[in-house]
């Protein structure tokens, strides 16, 4: 047996210990490779949304890389901790510190390299499936199978370097170099961490505060709230487990009637013994799962936003004609022809605006006559307005804008250069057109007729009086592709010179919806894979926690079964311990995520409840399956140890 063989045997014959870690690493490599496949796919580089997808995936690559680094670092250090006795034996037989380091290095590189090979291998074999699935989820036209060297090399080099760096860091993890300590190894029970009343109280208060802050989050303060709530929650979660678990177990132990009954004593004393390790593991799994839930949940929620869309776009087709638009009639003809070709019936409405400046802010204000407004309101199903000569109503550009205006109302304004003073009587529920340059004011017919348009040329973004034409189409989602020629011209002009624009604006709600749906689908796809990487890593932590102690547990249960623990009682003890291990952190993650979703809800006009509920249920279901699988395997392994 050469030294290299020794390292190889150590890994291969310990495959049970390394299984979850290996699979989880390989899965990270796989996801990294799949993103790289998309990023380097020639078909993905065309079109705006595809470019956004590529940018998103690049970010995802970094996230996965950094996370993998931390995950592997933690796993490796945890593995080494359980091997102290083994290292002690080796050093007694004359292994030098250098040899020990090179042994651990070889072992790690072996696992790492195989994980990279398996991850990439899987990626190549199923590349076609991944491309098809990805294209389907992201609403791309099918991406043909295409495999270049670039994603391969990128993944290979990236993870090879990662494993190399971590393998070189491993000597730092074997801190104790005293032989006698190493030989005693992990057999001595770890001390229970001390519970402090003050820290526990602070934890409880901090948790309530974090939850309170997330519940009261609004659109405006979500950014700053996130900065406060996220670190607060992370710290609290750690103390929640390290403090609360002690309290609960102490409390149960003190209740002698409960503690001394049947298998409770075995279960509880075992839990107390592993407390410190468990607390840390609970913490990690909770946080990692919370991130996974939130990432997937929020993007799943964003996909379901067609109701909000219908509110944002009362007209399916919006055309704004600015001064100098010579093809006005021709454009409308094109639109109407397209609508006819698709057999879509429509109601066409149009109005012409005037422009003045706001006296205070010098910002241009668009003016609409109340007659025009009421025509629109009737068709769109809003109540008509009565506007006096000294009054005006604000028509916001978007739903969010409307909320904002209602919260911080403007009481009055003076128009310039006319000097007309107007009292703001309210904000309409109707939004006209999202891409109007500014909110509009509805004024009385008399006032509207009196005022002359005034375009302030000094304004960097001058607003001109326009003619707005809207087509109300019942099946608005079908309007994607209507007026495609117009959209194409606008895009071409933007590409040629982003500074100047054509003298008209055109938007079809169908196209907008398709684009935004696709955007969120891309985000969802990216978040889904990252979330999966996180969730599987959490599963790997759990698996590791169990198998690190398997040998000790075998010993432990062998002793107890000799005293007379029945098979059924053994199953029950193990099941209780496992279910705590599996479901306590997930439960905390679900509660955390629920509060996070409440905070996120403030960003949306529609409810994200059902989408996020499904995501959480899905994860819990997977965790239950994982629980039964591991319980089966663990009991099997445990009993093998007891019989022999």
């Amino acid at each position: 047996m050469t030294f290299r063989q020794f390292a190889i045997y150590n890994v291969i014959r310990n495959k049970r210990t390394y299984a979850a870690y290996f699979l989880s690493s390989a899965f990270s490599v796989l996801v990294f490779f799949v993103y790289a496949l998309f990023i380097f796919h020639p078909g993905v580089n065309e079109g705006v949304t595809k470019q956004i997808a590529v940018e998103g995936m690049k970010v995802a690559e970094y996230i996965i890389y950094v996370f993998s680094f931390l995950f592997i670092l933690y796993s490796v250090s945890a593995f080494l901790k359980t091997r102290h006795r083994e290292f002690g034996i080796l050093m007694m037989h004359g292994m030098s510190r250098r040899q020990l380091n090179s042994l651990v290095f070889l072992e790690n590189m072996l696992i790492g390299f195989s994980a990279v090979v398996v991850g990439i291998g899987f990626g190549i074999v199923f590349a076609k499936v991944f491309l098809m699935l990805g294209a389907h989820i992201m609403h791309f036209v099918d991406l043909p199978f295409y495999l270049s060297w670039k994603p391969l090399i990128l993944t290979l080099v990236a993870f090879f370097v990662l494993f190399l760096v971590i393998s070189m860091m491993t000597p730092l993890f074997i801190r104790s170099s005293k032989l006698i300590d190493l030989l005693k190894g992990t057999t001595k029970p770890r001390k229970e961490p001390k519970a402090s009343v003050i820290v526990s109280l602070l934890t409880a208060v901090a948790l309530v505060m974090a939850y309170y802050l997330s519940v009261t989050t609004t659109t405006n303060n979500i950014g700053q709230r996130l900065l406060m709530v996220v670190p607060l929650t992370i710290v609290t979660t750690y103390f929640l487990f390290s403090q609360l678990s002690i309290f609960v177990i102490r409390l149960l132990k003190r209740k002698q009637n409960f503690y001394l009954r049947s298998t409770n004593m075995i279960t509880l004393s075992d839990l107390a013994y592993k407390m410190k390790d468990n607390a840390r593991m609970f913490f990690l799994v909770s946080i990692v799962s919370t991130v996974a839930f939130c990432a997937i949940g929020s993007f799943a929620a964003m996909k379901s936003m067609d109701k909000q869309f219908a509110k944002e776009f009362p007209f399916a087709i919006n055309y704004v004609s600015e001064p100098g638009d010579q093809a006005f009639h021709q454009h409308l003809q094109t639109i109407e022809q397209d609508l006819k070709a698709k057999h879509l019936s429509y109601k066409k409405l149009s109005l012409t605006t005037k422009v003045q400046d706001s006296g205070k802010t010098k910002i241009p204000v668009t003016l609409i006559s109340v007659k025009d407004y009421n025509r629109f309101a009737q068709v769109l199903g809003f109540s008509p307005l009565k506007v006096r000569d000294n009054e005006a109503y604000v028509v916001p550009t978007s739903i969010d804008g409307a909320k904002e205006l209602k919260k911080h109302p403007i009481s009055s304004t003076t128009l310039e250069p006319s000097g007309k003073a107007l009292k703001i009587a309210g904000v309409t529920n109707l939004v006209l057109y999202k891409y109007f340059d500014s909110s509009s004011l509805v004024v009385s017919g008399t006032v509207f007729n009196q005022l002359q348009s005034h375009v302030n040329k000094n304004n960097p973004y001058p607003t001109t009086p326009v003619t707005f034409v809207g087509y109300k189409v019942k099946d608005w989602k079908a309007t994607d592709g209507i007026g495609a020629a117009l959209s194409k011209n606008i895009r071409a002009q933007f590409k040629k010179n982003p500074e100047t624009s054509l003298p008209y604006k055109y938007t079809s709600a169908g196209e907008e919806y398709k684009l935004s749906e696709q955007m969120y689908s891309i985000m969802f796809f990216i978040a889904l894979l990252i979330g999966a990487v996180f969730f599987i890593a959490a599963g790997s932590f759990l698996y590791f926690r169990l198998y690190a102690d398997l040998e000790r547990d075998q010993h432990h249960y062998r002793a107890i079964t000799k005293i007379g623990l029945t098979n059924k009682e053994l199953n029950r003890t193990v099941t209780i311990q496992l279910s705590l291990l599996f479901f306590v952190p997930i439960l905390v993650a679900v509660i955390h995520s629920a509060f996070a979703f409440v905070a996120l809800q403030s960003l949306f006009a529609v409810s994200i409840f059902s989408a996020t509920l499904w995501v959480l249920l899905f994860f819990v279901a997977i965790q239950i399956i994982y629980f039964f699988l591991i319980r089966f395997l663990y009991l099997k392994h445990l009993k093998e140890g007891i019989v022999s």
Partner: protein, 255 residues
């Protein structure tokens, strides 16, 4: 060969505990020494220090004239690898390796060629009667076989000094007898100096000399005569004088 001079070990703690006090003795080349004493007398502490696992508080240990505690870390590793062999009560075999691989471990660390390894394993395994189990994994063999494997591992590199900590502690009487006979044979055939800590008077009766310790200090020592049976009886006599708890003595077995 081995000289222990005024060895003292104090465990610091809330109540510092003097485990060994001023112990001195000499072991000459090729001797087979047993160390006995009641629980807590400091036997294992003494052995751990000779094994370079633990550091003495005062005094020195010379193995072949060299003080291992003055060596640098790397040289100490090489020293252990070449000059020392260890046998433990709980065998301490590596579970990932087969019996054969466990035995050649010291040679692997020394980076000896595979050919030489194979030859040496063959010789050693034959001597210990474990040829048939060489390809088995550690969980497939009995306690006696495991201890013989551990002994094979401890002697494959022909160390100058073989140290054993309760080698029969986890074995039944038949296996104990086999293991002690093996150690005794090795001592005679290879002239390996051996030092063994034991509770078991029967195991001790295989040694040429038994040193008794009580409360960290030397208490007595007796030499083996021609008759193992009377030697065994004398060991028992000393033990009863030592006044250890009765539980410390294993049941008397037929020789």
């Amino acid at each position: 060969m081995l000289s222990v001079k005024k060895l003292t070990k104090v465990y610091e703690g809330k109540v510092s505990h003097r485990a060994l006090e001023n112990i001195s003795f000499e072991v000459s080349e090729g001797e087979f020494i047993g160390i006995m004493g009641p629980s807590g007398s400091g036997k294992t502490t003494l052995l751990n220090m000779i094994a370079t696992i633990d550091r003495p508080t005062a005094g020195e240990i010379l193995i072949d004239g060299k003080n291992p505690f003055k060596l640098k870390k790397n040289d100490l590793a090489t020293f252990r690898r070449r000059e020392l062999g260890f046998v433990f009560q709980d065998f301490n075999l590596l579970e990932t390796l087969t019996v054969e691989e466990n035995i050649v471990l010291p040679l692997t660390l020394e980076r000896v060629s595979v050919k030489i390894m194979k030859e040496k394993v063959k010789t050693v395994a034959k001597k210990l009667g474990i040829e048939s189990i060489l390809n088995k994994r550690t969980y497939e063999i009995s306690g006696g076989q495991a201890q013989r494997t551990a002994i094979a591992r401890a002697i494959i590199h022909s160390p100058k000094l073989l140290l054993a900590d309760e080698p029969t502690g986890n074995l039944d009487s038949k296996a104990s007898k086999d293991v002690m006979q093996t150690l005794s044979n090795i001592n005679q055939e290879f002239a390996t100096t051996q030092l063994m800590v034991t509770h078991d008077p029967q195991a001790a009766s295989y040694c040429q000399r038994v040193i008794f310790i009580k409360d960290g200090a030397l208490y007595n020592e007796i030499h083996r005569g021609d008759n193992q049976k009377t030697y065994y009886q004398r060991i028992l006599d000393v033990l009863s004088l030592l006044g250890g708890e009765s539980g410390d003595l294993s049941t008397i077995r037929d020789l």
